[in-house]
Symmetry: C2
Subunit: 198 residues, 2 copies
């Protein structure tokens, strides 16, 4: 398929490396790029390099940031006694969009997953432990509601409880706007177990 | 959403410009990039720049190539008397994969589309006309089987027929491996009209 020369083949390969981009999509994206003005392609390349160069992990919450201490950690007007543990930087964005949590975050950068060879030491758990001072009253574990997320939540809970901090887990239940009929059995069972008096 | 700094916001915007990449996908791709080693991101940026710089249009078939005359046009062992007209460089790849056509190609870079303000002068039709010598016995128009593709095929046919060249159109019919039950009415009607004795 190298009828466009080695450099185009290489570009298609690069696009194929991106998550959920298959060979056909990679081809489509590469041809799109080849049809754009050179200045636009240069702008794309620059955005790649500059963003990658600027990014590091916040030394407190381990979220990605272009500063040593990210904007959220630097904001002293948030609730000082709560830490919400998430598995991924994108989850911080999702939580912030929900506008419900006003404390600080801690990003694990993954979940415990023996099948993928990811153990506790591969995650930012040591860094979380170091943040548990007597000022912290609650750690909310907001890993994903699947097997690995639950296991990671249990692990963190067992690790932190001896330190005298309350560890909570985000609730399972029906999604708002969802329909009972279409809920899966496990979610429905959890929604019942977690029922609250109104 | 600028909690990761301006350069990350810019990277997300760049990914969003790509075809069929929405905001969520752009975010996902950007975070993937930010998590890769710097050397890998540099390789991606280089692939973008180098492929874009290397690419030009073949002076014969107008397909994209890193040479003045593309590999297909330079290959003298192909059938000299046939030209297959396609709308897009990707269609050349698709035709080559089918291994049925052994002549040369001509890439229009689009189809006639009054609604999008694309007229015959915006396509590589002049360049096609210039290639119609007495040696050419057949021009196969393989634009897409939709309204614009058909209109473009009709336009080319009317333009070339006076030059004494046979103009043909790829067949419409049921896709191989498809099921009659799921075919749309128009395709089924065309499949019947184009029936052949066996």
């Amino acid at each position: 398929m190298g009828i466009y020369g080695a450099s185009v083949t290489k570009l298609i390969e690069q696009f194929e490396k991106l998550p959920s981009i298959g060979h056909k999509s990679a081809q489509r994206l590469a041809f799109y790029i080849l049809n754009r003005p050179e200045a636009e392609v240069e702008e794309f390349a620059r955005a790649l390099l500059e963003s990658r160069k600027s990014i590091k992990l916040c030394s407190k919450c381990q979220n990605m940031s272009d500063k040593d201490i990210c904007d959220i950690c630097a904001n002293t007007s948030r609730e000082q006694d709560k830490i919400c543990v998430v598995q991924d930087p994108r989850d911080v964005m999702a939580m912030e969009r929900a506008r419900e949590f006003k404390g600080y975050y801690h990003v694990l950068h993954g979940v415990i997953s023996p099948i993928n060879g990811v153990g506790p030491d591969d995650l930012k758990i040591k860094e979380l432990l170091a943040r548990i001072t007597p000022d912290i009253t609650e750690v909310i574990v907001a890993t994903n509601p699947n097997v690995e997320g639950e296991a990671t939540a249990m692990y963190i809970s067992r690790l932190l409880r001896p330190l005298g901090v309350k560890v909570s887990r985000i609730a399972h239940g029906l999604p708002v706007g969802g329909e009972l009929e279409y809920a899966d059995d496990v979610t429905l069972a959890r929604a019942l177990q977690n029922r609250r008096e109104i």
